[in-house]
Amino acid sequence: MKRIQAPLTKETINSLKAGDLVLISGTIYTARDAAHKKLDEMVFKGMPLPFELKGAVIYYVGPSPAKPGKPIGSAGPTTSSRMDSLTPALLKAGLKGMIGKGRRSKEVRSAIRRHKAVYFAATGGAGALLGKRIKECDLIAFFELGTEAVYKLRVEDFPAVVINDCHGNDLYEQVGGIKCYD
């Protein structure tokens, strides 16, 4: 288990290998389908983004509402592939980490390698457990999108596994050939 800090540094990204279990602490940003569409448009038009993309980690999540006195509700990952077509432009603009679940497209995998980034998976369906690792949650953009708005999160020991590292390895591909029965 490796403890890493977000935003990610070059050294951290370089040290991560597909299959590594990590505990992420620091600042990450939420963005899923609707927010991606807006962010991508902003990148395309050269507009300033609501947060610094350089080194940033985006978490594909639409959390459930916070109960009184809590920062957030349940907050597990959503399916990453829906963000695939909009991801290469964000990687080109400086995005360094993504947290979601499921395989990425060939284009995203090669963009991850080209731009020296990393893709993590968190456990899909473990929303209550993952929500507890989020200590602060601030709405920073696209209020009208509700759960799909962009939130700035402070996470502590947020568990994830490296799927695609910056060296071109893919954990789903690696486990694809394994046998689980003798």
Binding site: G62, T78, A128
Partner: protein
């Protein structure tokens, strides 16, 4: 004639939405514990996380999964029941809206599939109503998340088809879903009816408890065979390898046209949430 006031429907639906989303079904909880004993390494850790997650959710009454779904509702209403003080569908939708508001559940419904503006109260629910004999009202609630739902498929087979290609279609659906459907999954299969009805059958199948036998021995055996083959794919929990790719396969057959053999495969994750209300 039995009178049922809408207010009792609203209250029960509200409660069912909250309970089903926060408390993992007992049969699924037991199936996860069995999987935990069977698995090793990463697969065991993931299943352990899901078990711990369900404990946190229950203790804090927070959703098992943040995707608290589109609310699918299956109603069986006796022909001697009179709903008083309002309309059945409006009462169900009001119960859903209150449950999602008061239970701090996520509102995931957009009012138009192309323009995508959130309705902010998780309505409308998808309501299937059947009129049956008697004075009973049974309402079954199933909040259905999008991740697994998106990986579901329907195919029309030739009526001359053997069972083997249907089996392969079901297994291939699980394989194509991979990690997207959040394995360990539960697979609902509707065989027969029409293209749309096969989907309803597949969804209704999720009300069955894991470990319960299919009423029809042929389909019971087929369910077991397919489950074993799915687990031999070694896709495993979260698609990261292991023995537990699916917890159950449920098949619902139905009569169909001489020209037709539709098969619907509805995917669901470990957070298959259902609740029955009897009024």
């Amino acid at each position: 004639m039995k009178n049922i006031p809408v207010e009792s429907i609203i209250q029960e639906v509200k409660k069912a939405c909250i309970d089903s989303n926060c408390v993992l079904r007992k049969d699924i909880s037991l199936a996860l514990r069995r999987a935990h004993r069977r698995e090793t390494g990463r697969a065991r850790e993931i299943v352990g996380e899901l078990i711990l997650n369900s404990k946190i959710a229950k203790k804090e009454m927070m959703p098992i999964c943040q995707d608290t779904g589109i609310t699918c509702v299956f109603v069986e209403i006796g022909d001697n029941v009179h709903i008083t003080g309002g309309y059945l569908n409006e009462a169900i939708n009001e119960g859903v809206a209150r449950g999602y508001r008061d239970g701090f559940l996520r509102k995931s419904i957009v009012e138009d599939p192309l323009f995508r503006k959130n309705t902010r109260n998780n309505t409308p629910a998808i309501i299937h109503t059947e009129i049956v004999k008697g004075t009973g009202l049974r309402i079954r609630i199933m909040p259905k998340g999008g991740g697994a739902e998106n990986m579901s498929r329907v195919k029309n087979f030739s009526p001359n088809s053997t069972v083997a290609p249907i089996e392969e279609f079901i297994i291939e659906t699980v394989r194509l879903a991979g990690a997207n459907a959040c394995p360990p999954v539960i697979v609902g299969v509707g065989i027969g009816g029409t293209m749309d009805y096969a989907g309803v059958l597949a969804k209704k199948a999720f009300f069955r408890a894991i470990g319960s036998a299919n009423e029809k021995p042929f389909y019971d055996k087929l369910e077991k065979t397919i489950l074993e083959k799915i687990n031999q794919t070694c896709i495993g929990p979260q698609g990261l390898g292991g023995k537990t790719t699916a917890l159950a396969v449920f098949i619902e057959p139905y009569p169909c046209h001489i020209a037709s053999l539709p098969v619907a495969v509805n995917m669901s994750c470990h957070a298959t949430r259902t609740k029955e209300i009897i009024l």
